[in-house]
Symmetry: C2
Subunit: 338 residues, 2 copies
């Protein structure tokens, strides 16, 4: 049996008996499902009808545990959300672990339990996986990769290329919570009110938004690089510009304070449970209503609109009434946030 006081050693990655025990007693138990139970080197699955969405993310977040989540739940939400931004219903995930020799088994159990719980809540199954071990000092505790497959409902076509001049830009909630929750834990900052990560699965919010019938053109979750960088990416892909209204972009007071202390701009801080929607202007209010009716969209707002601009500039009317350019993130003030 796996010993709770034990640690990962090189034999857990050898392909031999110790690895088989780790897989059986930890991963297979926590992620239990028929495809995984076949014990083959691949999962065999009935192909759904229609189009598939396929995405991957590696997670290298430091620290592994943070207020509102851990690397395990994050590894589920991150890939579920990347799949869901196509409008897809996420179905299956793979999980690849890179473990550093000496990593405590108790920590691994906690993380795997957190993955299993997050997957269950999302209605996805972890159907295939892989475990590697590297020598002490050759990794940082553990890294997790997840890849995900979902099925896109018929008639749904969400893509950055579909964003058009005149589109309304909606944001599902306040920005910067995840990044500042991680930073406050990493820097041991104590704020008056604790900042919790917004890490959450968004596929159900997306399903409700699609159900509203609003003419949605694209969805994206503003993770690394924050809202500012994500908008710039889409502006470039869609060959448009954007105009934002700073007053309409919600930022929690404690996040704003923490950003001020650390000299950060919340527009560039990562989120893990927020999405941006681009929608035909005439349907914006309908979509906003649908978003606000969902627990993950309660604080949704209309933050701006899409304009013709061959330079793909994102500009913002500031709270003080002036205008500023919102450029791509340059540099890396917040490493290993996901």
């Amino acid at each position: 049996m796996l010993n709770n006081d034990g640690r990962i050693d090189m034999t857990h990655g050898s392909g031999g008996r110790a690895m088989a025990q780790l897989i059986e007693q930890l991963f297979a138990k926590a992620f239990d499902n028929p495809a995984l139970a076949e014990s083959n080197d691949q999962a065999r699955l009935d192909a759904p009808k229609g189009r598939l969405a396929f995405s991957t993310d590696s997670f290298v977040i430091s620290p592994l545990f943070f207020p509102g989540g851990d690397i395990g739940s994050l590894a589920i939400h991150g890939t579920v959300n990347d799949v869901a931004m196509s409008g897809a219903k996420p179905l299956w995930l793979s999980a690849g672990f890179i473990l550093e020799e000496g990593f405590p088994l108790a920590g691994l159990k906690r993380i795997v339990g957190s993955m299993a719980e997050a997957a269950r809540k999302c209605g996805v199954t972890i159907v295939t996986g892989d475990t590697k071990v590297v020598e002490k000092g050759k990794a940082d505790g553990l890294f997790i990769n997840t890849a995900g497959i979902g099925v896109i409902p018929e008639g749904v076509d969400l893509s950055a290329h579909n964003v058009k001049e005149g589109d309304t830009i909606l944001l599902s909630g306040p920005i910067g919570d995840h990044g500042m929750a991680v930073m406050s834990r990493r820097e041991n900052l104590a704020f008056e009110s604790a900042i919790m990560s917004d890490s959450a699965p968004l596929h159900d919010l997306v399903a409700c938004m699609l159900k509203s019938g609003a003419d949605i053109h694209a969805l994206r979750d503003p993770t690394r690089g924050g809202l500012a960088t994500t908008l710039n990416e889409i502006a470039r892909t869609a060959n448009v510009g954007m105009r934002l209204d700073e007053q309409a972009i919600p930022v929690r007071p404690e996040v704003r304070s923490a950003c001020e202390i650390l000299g950060l701009d919340p527009l560039y801080v990562a989120n893990e449970g927020r999405l941006i929607a681009f929608c035909a202007a005439h349907d914006a209010e309908k979509l906003l209503k649908a978003m606000r009716a969902h627990e993950h969209g309660r604080e949704a707002s209309i933050i701006g609109n899409v304009v013709p601009d061959e330079h793909h500039f994102v500009e913002m009317r500031t709270t003080l009434g002036g205008h500023r350019m919102v450029d791509w993130l340059a540099g890396e003030p917040l490493p290993r946030i996901c």
Copy 2:
């Protein structure tokens, strides 16, 4: 433009402009295909009819370059083969990179080029990906995760659970080449004749084997833990025992010598371009013929058969006429071989 003398820095993982440039100028160019060119956080793909195979592997091999391949080609072959062992035709891959700060861009370019070439040769496309950067000392150069999706032809049902008493066991070629190629490079051993890795894609060999019409029950590639461990895994899953004939198991003389020098048993050394087939006895010769007609099965042989055994023992008649137990790999004599 990416500078050939440059190195990976933390900004390449920030989500900002430097990361976008790396993706555009390196990954998107090398892996070019319509799904990737959509620049969304997920690929959108037409679901094939039938059953899907889905698999993942992380690659942490050291050194990154070895005789007969590198981590890039290995990351393609490894996942292509795991998908193919279900009988599936591999279609799409994801690629997740974890890069260590300071890693030379020229090395990354070479590895990405090698991935692109291997993928092209396998007829698979890398449709989605992810890049993370960790601080110097927090990883070992680079790690790659690939996940793969394939489609299983109608009527094909290959699984370790299908292996039965009386089945014939076939092996597609000599064992131990990959492991000893990596070890000889790592230990700077110079042998009279250089040992080359057997790293190769096996999906086409599998397709030819299926086409032969032989009644195949299961396929598996004996990677980590080698032939011995893979057979033990299957014996346990299928609730059977196995009897092998040592004389029938091909080992190249130079691999045998290298194993002797290092005190290793070739039965436990990793392969990356070999497969084991379990087949109804009456079709074994037909299957052997089909395997030998393929470039990756030219040295195929019948190595033993499946017997009833509630203890799931794998036993081998030795070259000297005695018998020995072939147990699971215990310990880890060959770390980071894939």
